[in-house]
């Protein structure tokens, strides 16, 4: 299977601040990849570099096999892009916005757009600036899909939408991305949404991915356990030992553990008086544990 999106050791600084420190990731054909991270961690920067709107200091990226720096002209119609905030030309009517899109694309599926507008209940004579955020988001997504792109890049598509709108938007997105072979890279803060649609997640922290794994596999591999430590024993995050995070709670520690096999369990039981059964970890908990510097020490 070939890679639709590639980041290869991408570095980028703004002024005196490093934002991306050697970001590497690959999105395979047909894969839905969710890029997660806290505010200002560089998600939008990474997507702009991917689309050739920013230049990396070091490293390279490519989309549908074309280096980002050479992404110009018709090849852009193979990439659907919804920028942060769903920008559209506000003074146009929906009908005129459709004409504008059709006139500036090498291919444009009018039938698909008409069907989608009917389904979404968007009036053609409505002014774009008068649409709700959710409607704008849906219209942006429809336009991004109207060229039948091989890859879809969405920068925080659910930002600013309320629960109902987000749900509608996500359903529309799930339906749209269900077409064969379409790859999606999207950034988001809404982890419940990510859990619904992503095949694979990447968590961006400190300018590079700290997590890059399929979501299902992640659920299998990461667990949480409560331990009561022996006197003087402390627990801290230790990747080599499979401890992703250790948090002090009441009389013991709450450990987030990765790939915890029998050997590691024996070592753990040797240091703790009580070890609870494995508990599943939600994506939100995992995100929190990995993007905050938590450490704990026993007394």
């Amino acid at each position: 299977m070939t890679d639709a999106i590639v980041f290869d050791d991408v570095w980028r600084a703004f002024g005196g601040r490093h934002v991306l420190n050697g970001l590497s990731l690959r999105v395979r054909e047909g894969e839905v990849f969710a890029l997660l991270g806290r505010n200002g961690v560089g998600k939008s920067t990474a997507l702009k570099i991917l689309l050739g709107f920013l230049e990396p200091d070091r490293g390279s990226s490519s989309l549908v096999g074309v280096p980002s720096a050479q992404l110009d002209g018709p090849v852009r119609d193979e990439v659907g892009y919804v920028a942060e905030g769903h920008p559209l030309i506000g003074w146009m009517s929906v009908a005129r916005a459709i004409e504008f899109e059709a006139g500036t694309r090498t291919r444009f599926d009018r039938k698909y757009v008409d069907d989608a507008l009917r389904r979404l209940g968007l009036a053609r004579d409505a002014r774009v600036s008068q649409l709700s955020r959710g409607q704008k988001a849906q219209l942006s997504l429809v336009f991004a899909m109207a060229t039948d792109p091989k890859v879809l890049v969405l920068d925080d598509p659910a930002m600013g939408l309320d629960v109902v709108m987000r749900r509608e938007f996500l359903e529309a997105m799930i339906e749209l991305v269900s077409r064969d072979g379409r790859s999606v890279l999207f950034s988001s803060h809404i982890l419940t949404d990510v859990e619904r649609i992503a095949d694979r997640i990447g968590i961006l922290d400190g300018g590079a991915l700290c997590v890059d794994a399929p979501l299902e596999e992640l659920r299998e591999r990461v667990h949480k356990r409560f331990v009561r430590a022996s006197d003087g024993v402390s627990f801290a995050a230790d990747d080599a030992a499979g401890v992703l995070s250790a948090k002090r709670v009441r009389e013991g520690f709450e450990l987030t553990l990765l790939d915890f096999d029998e050997r590691r369990e024996r070592a753990l039981r040797a240091r703790a008086s009580l070890v609870s059964d494995p508990q599943p970890v939600s994506l939100e908990e995992l995100f929190f544990e990995l993007t905050t510097t938590a450490a704990a020490t026993g007394s």
Binding site: F14, G15, G16, H18, N21, G22, K48, G52, F53, L54, E55, D72, G73, R76, D77, V79, Y81, A83, P87, L88, I89, G90, M92, F100, E101, A102, G103, T104, R105, T106, T147, D205, G206, G207, A208, L209, C210, V211, A213, E217, R221, V222, S234, F235, A236, D238, D239, A240, A241, V243, L244, L258, D259, D261, R263, R264, A267, L268, R271, L290
Partner: protein, 664 residues
């Protein structure tokens, strides 16, 4: 591409409509721009040139920054069209909007002209002049290119605006310097204007397209092949602006110093220095012998030609492309139908041409008014060229000899072939007829007051209105109908001979623009010689020196070998008058040292992204260029590399590679 074009045309509609409205309001009501009110002297053309240039720059900036400000930049660029085609469509739409605005303005002016046109009050050629605003509106192309390139610099906004303003000054300076340098004939001027605006505009649009194609990254604008193109553009555009900035500030300082200098002269049997602050209150001084502001005139006292002494009265015309009005005559005329008109006839000249124009208003004259009968074919308004009868054009230098009393005939002396021509204003239609053959005069002389000549010698700038011609028969003056022998009164002396009667002499020992050293001598020996050096005010002196240190090193070195005396109030755009003729070598050394230090400093920063071309710019145009470099060049800080992040949860590891578990 058509969709982009239509979208941009809709965006440009409002600014273009505003432009047309403002221009029309000014054209209809402005005192200086009233094309309908003051035919032949209106400023509509220049107004259109400046307004369309500025509007073009603003619309270009809006085009480049507006989408970005609304968060639409990436939305617009991410589509199946090459970026350069998107820019082309946007530029064509903007320029079409500006062209339509110009057409609207011209059409409205024409309609207004038709509506209010009174053939007796306005000259017929009004419509013939409408091509001029159309031609001058091509400044929009240059302005638009500039605004677009400035906007696409993708720097922080203030830098963009600073660069656009700075480069705009440079472009304007280059255009006007080129026009001035070329001369003032019709065809080259218009052709050059088109070449500069359309050619320069096209070059700037190409540059903008290149910048857009390369990327829209705000911190990485000048990478790759764009570098040399941008360096050359910056050199061409910004350098004149840099030189101008320095020269303008220095001129202000020098002028302030010069105006603070006292007038040196003679009063009541002694030398006198009249303080600067009292010079406006009238002469307490009998004779001004040296004025710092006017010093070069005195330095030129040994010149043989005396024309400069009569130029003040505008009797010696050095003509160029611009029309110079030199005489007018009001008169009352009655046409064949018995209607009376108050007619203003004025004569204007420019290189090779003399023009008589008249407009008139229909009035009922009072009983005391003397009304002449107009010729049968007389019709108002008219514009008529007065040509020499021998088929040759009049030369660039004409000397006017006014008639005695109120006679209606002037004498024009053509300096190229020394012919004489009578300009007769008496008839309703002025005439030009030859009264002196080729070589009939050899020069001019001026009768000046003897007392003044004793004080100031040939450099006297007063009482010099009686101009006579030097002919083979001797000095001749014009009495309105013929040349007659010119005679002096008892208290007059010919300017050409006044050296023999001059009593005082001014010796400029050091013709420094800031602190001149002067020696006044009394040839009769009644007064001891006076040596005086002006001390410039501290503030003006410091400012002049500071700016001198910031000027172009190349120009400063050239100035050190320039020994021509210069007036402090004269603009020294390129050469630095403070170091002229080898003065103040320490200042020259400071200038060179500062430029070198800056060049070395920026050279040390080259690894952070500064272009080598800027170093050349510093060497050529001085430290002020560093301001521009700082504004244009992003700081690509060489940041320390942070520790590389590791993937904490990657693909599922195989058993063979899984590390031993260690819990501390």
């Amino acid at each position: 591409m058509r969709a982009i074009f239509k979208k941009q045309l809709a965006s440009a509609a409002l600014p273009c409509a505003l432009l047309a409205l403002v221009t029309l309001a000014l054209a209809a009501n402005g005192r200086e721009f009233a094309i309908l009110r003051r035919p032949g002297t209106d400023g509509t053309g220049p107004l259109v040139a400046v307004a369309w240039g500025i509007a073009g720059a603003l619309i270009g900036l809006l085009c480049a920054l507006g989408d970005e400000a609304r968060g639409l930049r990436e939305f617009i660029l991410h589509r199946g069209l090459p970026r350069t085609r998107i820019l082309l469509a946007q530029s064509l739409a903007n320029l079409l909007g500006l062209a339509l605005a110009a057409l609207v303005v011209i059409a409205v002016i024409a309609v207004m002209g038709l509506a209010v046109h009174d053939p007796l009050a306005h000259p017929a050629p009004l419509y013939a002049r409408l091509w001029e605003p159309a031609l001058l509106s091509t400044s929009a192309v240059l302005g638009h290119g500039l605004g677009l390139a400035g906007g696409l610099l993708r720097q922080p906004r203030w830098r963009t605006l600073f660069f656009t303003f700075y480069a705009g000054c440079g472009v304007l300076y280059l255009v006007f310097a080129a026009l001035r340098g070329l001369g003032e004939r019709w065809i080259p001027n218009e052709a050059l204007w088109l070449v500069l605006t359309l050619g320069g505009g096209a070059a700037l649009h190409l540059l903008a397209a290149r910048m857009l194609r390369q990327g829209i990254d705000e911190e990485r604008t000048f990478a790759g092949p764009l570098r040399p193109a941008l360096a050359v553009t910056a050199l061409v555009i910004a350098a004149p602006a840099t030189v101008l900035s320095a020269s303008l500030v220095q001129q202000l300082a020098l002028e302030r110093s010069a105006r603070a200098a006292p007038l040196l002269g003679w009063s009541q049997a002694s030398w006198m220095a009249q303080p600067a602050e009292t010079r406006e209150y009238g002469p307490r001084i009998d004779a001004v012998l040296f004025d710092t502001v006017q010093r070069p005139d005195i330095a030129a006292r040994n010149e043989e030609a005396r024309y400069y002494t009569v130029e003040r009265n505008e009797l010696v015309l050095e003509l160029g492309a611009g029309w110079r009005h030199f005489v007018s005559k009001p008169q009352w005329l009655r046409d064949a139908r018995g209607r009376c008109f108050h007619v203003d006839t004025w004569i204007s000249a420019r290189h090779g041409r003399v023009l008589a124009q008249a407009v008139g208003l229909h009035y009922g004259p009072s009983s005391k008014t003397v009304v002449q009968d107009a010729p049968p074919d007389f019709a108002l308004p008219y514009r008529r060229e007065l040509a020499r009868g021998d088929g040759k054009p009049l030369s660039q230098q004409l000397i006017l000899l006014p008639p005695a009393d109120d006679a209606d005939a002037w004498l024009l002396a053509d300096a190229s072939d020394r012919t004489l021509w009578r300009l007769d204003l008496a008839p309703a239609l002025p005439t030009l007829s030859q009264v002196g053959a080729e070589g009939s005069w050899s020069g001019i002389d001026v009768a000046i007051g003897r007392a003044r000549a004793e004080l100031e010698g040939a450099s006297s700038r007063r009482n010099s209105s009686r101009v006579v011609l030097l002919t083979p028969e001797g000095r001749r003056s014009w009495n309105g109908s013929e040349l007659v022998a010119a005679a002096l009164t008892a208290d007059e002396v010919w300017q050409s001979e006044c050296a023999s009667v001059q009593r005082f002499e001014v010796d400029v020992l050091d013709a420094d623009v800031l602190e001149p050293l002067v020696k006044l001598l009394d040839k009769r020996g009644e007064l001891e010689p006076l040596e005086f050096r002006h001390r410039a005010p501290l503030g003006a002196s410091l400012l002049a020196h500071l700016v001198s240190a910031l000027r172009s090193p190349l120009a400063s070195v050239q100035s050190a070998f320039d020994f021509q005396p210069r007036r402090p109030t004269e603009r020294h755009e390129w050469l630095d008058p403070l170091v002229a003729g080898g003065r103040r070598p320490w200042l020259l050394a400071l200038n060179l040292g500062l430029s070198l230090a800056l060049a070395l400093y920026f050279a040390a920063r080259r690894k952070n992204g500064l272009r080598a071309s800027w170093l050349v710019l510093f060497a050529l145009f001085g430290p002020l260029t560093a301001v521009l470099a700082n504004a244009l060049e992003p700081r690509r800080a060489a940041l320390p590399q942070p520790p590389r992040r590791t993937l904490r949860i990657g693909p599922r590891p195989t058993r063979a590679t899984q590390p031993e578990a260690v819990v501390s």
